[in-house]
């Protein structure tokens, strides 16, 4: 039951925002009593905390699977980026902001995930890319990893990019620009091949040089 509550709460939070959804809403959706919810969670903050934790655990699993499939570090970056944009489509943009403001414990889990997992994963990706001659050797790995995380966040920020109604275009531009900026000539060739393959699925026009 606990997992079922978390899953339904996550679905409702992502869709309608964390603040608007009450314990009553969650109970009603699952056709259970509020008492049942309180058997598993202390309060709403506790639910938010578990939702974030559960979401992150799933994301870590998914990233692991993508990394196993990817043929090289460049493809890995592109697959993870696609995954993040797929997730983003499902999330009400206010959610992260509300969690940051009103649910410090849950936000803490996210910050820890960012520092201890995301940044380390990106540094590891960059290091492999450098070793394989795909990325530039003059990259300061931690600066670039932190830039990457920042770009994943600002791509949703309509104050920084107020000119586009479709934030997907912004995210796409930021992602491709990031990858382009770290490649060597050898990396370029692989990247262009990958882009041309993915263009068959996603009809976005890129020049190949």
């Amino acid at each position: 039951m606990k997992e079922k509550i978390i899953e339904e709460a996550e679905r409702l939070f992502w869709k309608y925002g964390v603040r608007t959804i009450t314990m009553d809403d969650i109970a009603r959706r699952l056709a259970i009593s509020k008492k049942t919810i309180y058997q598993h969670f202390i309060d709403k903050e506790d639910i938010v905390f578990h939702v974030v934790k559960y979401h992150i655990e799933n994301e870590v699993d998914e990233v692991c699977q993508l990394n196993a499939v990817a043929g090289n570090p460049i493809e890995e970056l592109m697959l993870v980026s696609d995954m993040m944009r797929r997730h983003a489509d499902e999330i009400n943009p206010s959610v992260m902001l509300d969690i940051q403001r009103y649910y410090p414990k849950a936000w803490g889990v996210f910050l820890e995930y960012k520092e201890n997992q995301i940044i380390k994963d990106i540094i590891s990706n960059l290091q492999r890319g450098v070793n394989e001659g795909l990325y530039r050797t003059d990259l300061d790995l931690e600066t670039m990893a932190r830039l990457r995380v920042e770009l994943l966040q600002i791509g949703f920020d309509e104050q920084i990019f107020p000119h586009h109604k479709d934030m997907y275009v912004v995210q796409d531009q930021l992602h491709h620009h990031f990858v382009r900026g770290i490649l060597t000539l050898k990396g370029f060739e692989i990247y262009n091949n990958l882009k041309q393959t993915s263009e068959r699925v996603q009809p976005i026009i890129y020049e190949s040089k």
Copy 2:
């Protein structure tokens, strides 16, 4: 006298921070009475406003001169970036944050400058680069211009990049990554030549491919 007060106030603000410097400090430094200051300015907010305006006007002049010297759009980007880092060395990092928080009128001047001048200048640079075959044709110019402005700002943000004591390294990495990310192969060649030339002046090691 008005200009003299602005210049001295600017020097003191940049060095010690906007909030710590009082009207008395400015008067003492110039060996004039506070009454003289009040003949030209309503209050401290008015001085801050004029300092920001004066600073921006000088920066616009300097950018114009650099653009006139630059042989191509890539060199222009690199010269402007060098200029901004030179300016940044003179500025107490708290200044921009304090202006944003406590001097809304002066901050408004900066925001207007950003929207009406900086972003347009960068878009114009990008458009010329695309026309000359130096930058990719698949750039969304306004997204890239706004990214560039954002990068110039976050390069000073020690919360985003807490790992480096020397923020110059971070700014340098962000700048070179930005330029690398927009180039075509033809642009690459020019960029590598420019970097090798500037390396004679600045001994930072970059790989050339």
